[in-house]
Amino acid sequence: MAFRLELREKTPVWFNIVLPLSAVMATLLLCSGLVALAGANVFHAYSELFLSAVSSRFNLVETFVKATPLIFTGLAVAVAFRAKFWNIGAEGQLLAGAMAAAYIGGIESLPSFSLVPLMIIASALAGAGWAMLPAILRTRFKVDDVVTTLLLNFIMYYVMTALLDGPWKDPLSGYPDSPDIRMDAEFPILLHATRLHLGVLLSLLAAPMVWWFLRRTTLGFSISVVGENPSASAYAGIPITRILIYTALISGSLAGLAGAGEVGGLHFQVMSGISPGYGYTGIVIAMLARLNPIGVVPAALFFAVVVTGAESMSRATGVPVFLADVIQGTALVTMLIAQLFTTYRIRTLTTQG
């Protein structure tokens, strides 16, 4: 008996749910070997990993707070990848947004009511501007966008740490973190006695908005067309260069908003560890969501659970927190493999005797 890959005409809709779920299942199964290797009971470790994040009202809210930057970066990557603009730079764009928000939020002369909206706008602009650069390099000079977006992450990180070590350094404590933003610049809290801030709501609203944009607007539709078939879209008169630039702007501004949420709603300042790789996790999230903006929300919540749960799992069972990183990598790989079933079906060929 032999197997053959055959092109599939159409992808069934239920694949959108079944594929990510099977990828996650396979990931957990594969990673259970590592848990056992670390000398822990797999069920105990996994229940710590997943249940602590939803065990109380407080923890549940915290999971949503943690998911917020991930929803934004997930959306940023999803939009970019739809156009096959390989934006690996959500990390740097997030940092740009965070710095812009911290800068605006600290200006004394601005009227109070304008602070929050201005911070949001500034962070989106900063992220978009930082994403523009690789888009221009790609469309003008044909430079691979993966490499440039990756390198720009490092450059932005050093820009940030230079600011934190220099002009933004706390003159009293000497800590490398930016001055706190003004009290009026802090995002409103939506649920009393929790950290559920405006950014959480914005991220949850952003997902359906991006979905609507991709489905119902000409520009959104062109983004997918350019990604799927550049030669046909050129033939149809779609200005590919312009679409790619727009894609970068939208993607970058979404990533920038992730930074605004972290500064305005959570930390009220910028410090060097403000993003523990949210931009990179966004790639895994977007892939798990099959680049569907609505799917980004559950995928981001899943990783928020994993990232927060990993700490309590580590405390309770001694399994290193880095299991969360392995889960991310494994999920990306298994999801990639699962994607094969959308384009191909496996046919068994019985050899004739």
């Binding site: 000079f141 390198l151 230079a162 392995v326």
Partner: protein, 309 residues
């Protein structure tokens, strides 16, 4: 100004360039093999990290640096083979697969380091490689101490460049590898197995990336830290572009980079120029961004399937 110049251009400066360039040479030549076969190996950053970790652990427990190098090579080959499974056998997106391999390898490196060493209060370290002077040659003024009083790994890096050039351009195997990267269908018609060549290119790349990672912990730092690679792998991707997919030019690019790096270390230390040190750390990345001219192998990034033409 004269003071700056005299402080910088000493023998030690040039020795440092060669020392810093060594891991870049290994990893860049590695990446070159993969890309010439038609696969962009973005797993490089993670493979270097994982190689650094396994190399360090092996050297730590066996007290043999060479066993550590071997372990790092094998680790790199294993992860590169996984990259091959995803991109060659399954024909998946090279970009996303590469990022996946980097995430996975980095996760493995950190996870296993914690399992093996826990969270020690002092960083476990090893006895690093020491420079081995080559008799006679090392006594040549200037050139001697710069080129011939290095570690054995650096001599190996010197050897890897001509060897790569020879393999790629002077052997039938190299011709096949390059053809597979340029025109896989022609290679296939001529009876060359595209997937076998791509796997070979990748596995060689993994071995060299593993060595590069191990070099960093065994020569430069003598301990494993989570920031040991910190973007060096990505720089190598840019170096291959800069070197226009040729071994000599890529190695020259690595040397140029190392020079900028050595310069920034000295400028930072001399405090003659009062700039934030991050400007210097940024320089290699900015320079890498400027490697704009693209003359990539024609079939790079394109999965090969026999039945689709």
């Amino acid at each position: 100004m004269e003071e700056i110049i005299s402080q910088i251009f000493q023998v030690g400066f040039f020795t440092a360039i060669i020392r810093i360039a060594t891991p870049f040479v290994f990893a860049t030549i590695g990446e070159l093999f993969a890309e010439r076969s038609g696969v962009l190996n973005l797993g490089i950053e993670g493979i270097m990290m994982f190689g650094a970790m396994t190399g360090f652990s092996t050297a730590y427990f066996t007290s043999s640096l060479w066993l550590g190098i071997l372990a790092a090579m094998l680790t790199g080959m294993l992860m590169a083979a996984l990259m091959g499974f995803l991109t060659v056998s399954l024909g998946l997106s090279q970009h996303v697969s590469g990022i996946g391999i980097t995430m996975l390898s980095t996760g493995f490196a950190f996870f296993f380091y914690r399992i093996i060493f826990g969270q020690p209060s002092t960083l476990p370290n090893i006895k690093a490689f020491t420079p081995v002077g080559i008799p006679v040659l090392k006594d040549i003024p200037w050139i001697g101490p710069v080129l011939f009083e290095q570690t054995t790994l650096t001599y190996l890096a010197f050897a890897v460049v001509p060897l790569a050039a020879f393999l790629l351009y002077k052997t039938p195997w190299g011709l096949n590898l390059r053809t597979v990267g340029e025109n896989p269908h022609a290679a296939d018609s001529a009876g060359v197995s595209v997937s076998a060549m791509r796997y070979q290119g990748l596995i060689i790349s993994g071995a060299l990336m593993g060595i590069a990672g191990a070099y960093l912990v065994m020569v430069q730092f003598n301990a494993f830290t989570f920031g040991v690679i910190s973007g060096r792998g990505w720089i190598c991707i840019a170096l291959v572009v800069f070197g226009q997919w040729g071994p000599w030019k890529s190695a020259a690019g690595a040397l140029l980079f190392a020079m900028i790096d050595a310069l920034q270390l000295r400028l930072q230390a001399s405090s003659i120029i009062d700039l934030p040190y991050q400007i210097f750390l940024m320089m290699p990345f900015v320079r890498a961004m400027m490697a704009v001219e693209m003359r990539a192998p024609a079939a790079l990034l394109i999965p090969f399937r026999k039945e689709e033409r």
